[in-house]
């Protein structure tokens, strides 16, 4: 079964409730959108991620009231290097959406969403722990899984699988 090609044209994706809402609010916030394998990804400008999340959570037609996951992908040697990925779920509408924020490799930082979904607390700490992405406004940004005094961020692509010896 061949895969249908991904749709990346914003015009064609306007009908999706999340994209429509975001575009009506602030067209600058939406950098790019992609519909691939029945899943929708929206690239959000890093300055607007907090407001975009509030907007999607409080959207009366399709409230994304459940934060499934926060994770990160390291695209070394590309710049911007990091992509922080948020998976939102609307329990009432049975709809998922993926938000992405691109971050530079130098000192990656993005606004925390813990005040919107307290669930982000551990998820963001995990991303900070393993990728070194800082979340500004997080109430307790400390290492979660690795020891407190660990050096380096293990899931970065320039960190060897066997670790440093």
């Amino acid at each position: 079964m061949p895969l249908p090609p991904a749709i990346t044209d914003l015009e064609q994706l306007k009908s999706h409730p999340a994209i429509a809402k975001l575009l009506a609010w602030n067209p600058v916030a939406v950098e790019e959108a992609r519909f691939d394998r029945d899943e929708i990804s929206i690239y959000i400008n890093r300055d607007f991620i907090r407001q975009a999340c509030v907007l999607l959570r409080d959207n009366p037609e399709c409230p994304f009231n459940f934060l499934s996951d926060v994770s990160c992908v390291d695209w070394l040697p590309q710049e911007p290097r990091f992509e922080v990925v948020y998976h939102l779920l609307s329990i009432s509408n049975k709809e998922r959406v993926r938000l992405k924020v691109r971050l530079d490799g130098g000192s990656p930082a993005v606004d925390s969403v813990t005040s919107i979904w307290p669930a982000a607390n551990y998820f963001e700490r995990e991303v900070y722990d393993l990728f070194g992405v800082r979340f500004t406004g997080h109430p307790y940004l400390r290492r979660l899984l690795m020891p407190e005094d660990w050096e380096g961020y293990p899931l970065r692509k320039d960190y060897p699988v066997e670790g440093y010896r």
Partner: protein
């Protein structure tokens, strides 16, 4: 929502309180969970879970393996429901590849997943009751669990780390006699659930230890990312099997038990009723098991049968190529979620077009569920902490990965 992100406990804030360390080596923390409690007498004022003692870097290891080599790693994440992990990972990669799975393989996956759910809930019930002081339930639960492990051993050769699902279908045909034994178990099991309920559900001591203990409201549970029975015990009627079906779950009839009380007893009732629903799904899967292939027709991805490999040149070439250089997966990304015994288990797999996954991330249901623990326990007695830990059914292997 400031009350949902409590301040960490590092030193006592008042003269009358003290810090108590619980775990990581503590029999009722279900693994290596460490809790730092600030207590005032017997009352918990604040709590901070400390995790990471089982961190093995599975996500990093996945990036160095071929797609098919990741399957055995997924077993080790949540060691109480290995087949659910296998399924979630396989579904994610199959979605990336655009593979279609034959009906028999899908039904076998449903059948085994429900057996896994029963297996996991039995361990939970036994240990949870043991923590609270009902010793004998443990023995009853492990008696039935043994039967399920034997069934797993029949299909996969392994009791716990099964790795039975493959990208594109199943590893092997189920052996002769498997369906008979599974049916025998399914017929016997409902009366065993009655036995557990006789021991616990109406038991006054059990009720006192669980009713009204460790309450959480639906809003708080949602905000903290709780899922599965922890969320349904608070009254949110959501189950991925029914609401966002995968692997042909839409063809099965079952109820989703919920309760609005949000306490330990509510979560207990949800899981016990789930045992009954799961065995009903097992019955339906056995009744309607389709005939046909157990692997998708995709020679570049699915290993050929042993017989073909020894007689056909092409099959041998494909076998050699898949084993030595893997198979390339078209670039893209997928988030696949399934309803594990503990809640929403999700696999986020990113491919860059090569034979090794660029990134595999597991959304651990327990990690999010654990965040509800401080909410549940603050203001309650230390003895209730043990009941609360049992009621959210955590597996530290999944939390730490």
């Amino acid at each position: 929502m400031a009350h949902l992100t409590p301040m960490p406990v590092l030193e006592p804030v008042e003269d009358r309180t003290m810090i108590l360390n619980m775990g990581p080596q503590h029999p009722s923390t279900h693994g290596v969970l460490r809790l730092i409690l600030e207590i005032d007498g017997e009352t918990v004022v604040r709590m901070m879970p400390d995790i990471g003692y089982l961190h093995t870097g599975i996500e990093k290891t996945c990036e160095a393996k071929f797609y098919q080599q990741v399957v055995p790693l997924t077993d080790r994440i949540d060691y109480l429901c290995p087949l659910t992990n296998n399924l979630c990972y396989c579904l994610a990669v199959e979605k990336l590849l655009g593979l279609e799975i034959p009906p028999k393989a899908q039904w076998m996956r449903v059948l085994l997943n429900e057996l896994t759910r029963i297996n996991s809930h039995l361990v939970w019930l036994g240990t949870h009751a043991l923590d609270i002081g009902a010793m004998s339930v443990f023995l009853y639960c492990f008696r039935e669990r043994e039967d399920i492990l034997r069934l797993f051993e029949m299909v996969s050769g392994q009791r716990m780390m099964t790795s039975y699902f493959r990208i594109g279908g199943l590893a092997l045909e189920p052996p002769i006699g498997f369906f008979e034994r599974a049916r025998d178990f399914a017929n016997r099991f409902p009366s065993k659930v009655d036995e557990y309920e006789n021991l616990l559900t109406g038991n006054p001591i059990w009720m006192m230890r669980t009713k009204g203990v460790a309450k959480i409201t639906a809003e708080d549970a949602l905000a903290l990312g709780a899922s599965g029975p922890t969320l349904r015990g608070s009254g949110v009627d959501f189950d991925l099997r029914r609401d966002m079906p995968y692997s042909s779950y839409e063809r099965f009839k079952f109820k989703v038990p919920t309760s609005t009380d949000g306490d330990v007893f509510a979560r207990y009732m949800c899981r016990v009723q789930e045992l009954r629903e799961s065995i009903a799904i097992v019955q339906q899967a056995l009744d309607g098991m389709p005939e046909g292939a157990i692997k998708a027709d995709a020679p570049k991805v699915v290993l050929p049968d042993r017989e073909k490999m020894k007689t056909q040149m092409e099959a041998l070439i494909y076998h050699f190529k898949i084993i030595t250089e893997g198979f390339a997966v078209p670039a893209g990304e997928v988030y696949q979620a399934v309803e594990s015994p503990r809640g929403e288990m999700g696999y986020y797999v990113v491919s860059d077009g090569t034979a090794k996954p660029y990134r595999v991330h597991m959304r651990a249901a327990c990690l999010a569920n654990l965040q509800t623990l401080p909410m549940m326990c603050e203001g309650r007695l230390i003895a209730d902490v043990v009941a609360a830990i049992g009621s959210i059914d955590i597996v530290l292997g999944e939390i730490d990965r």
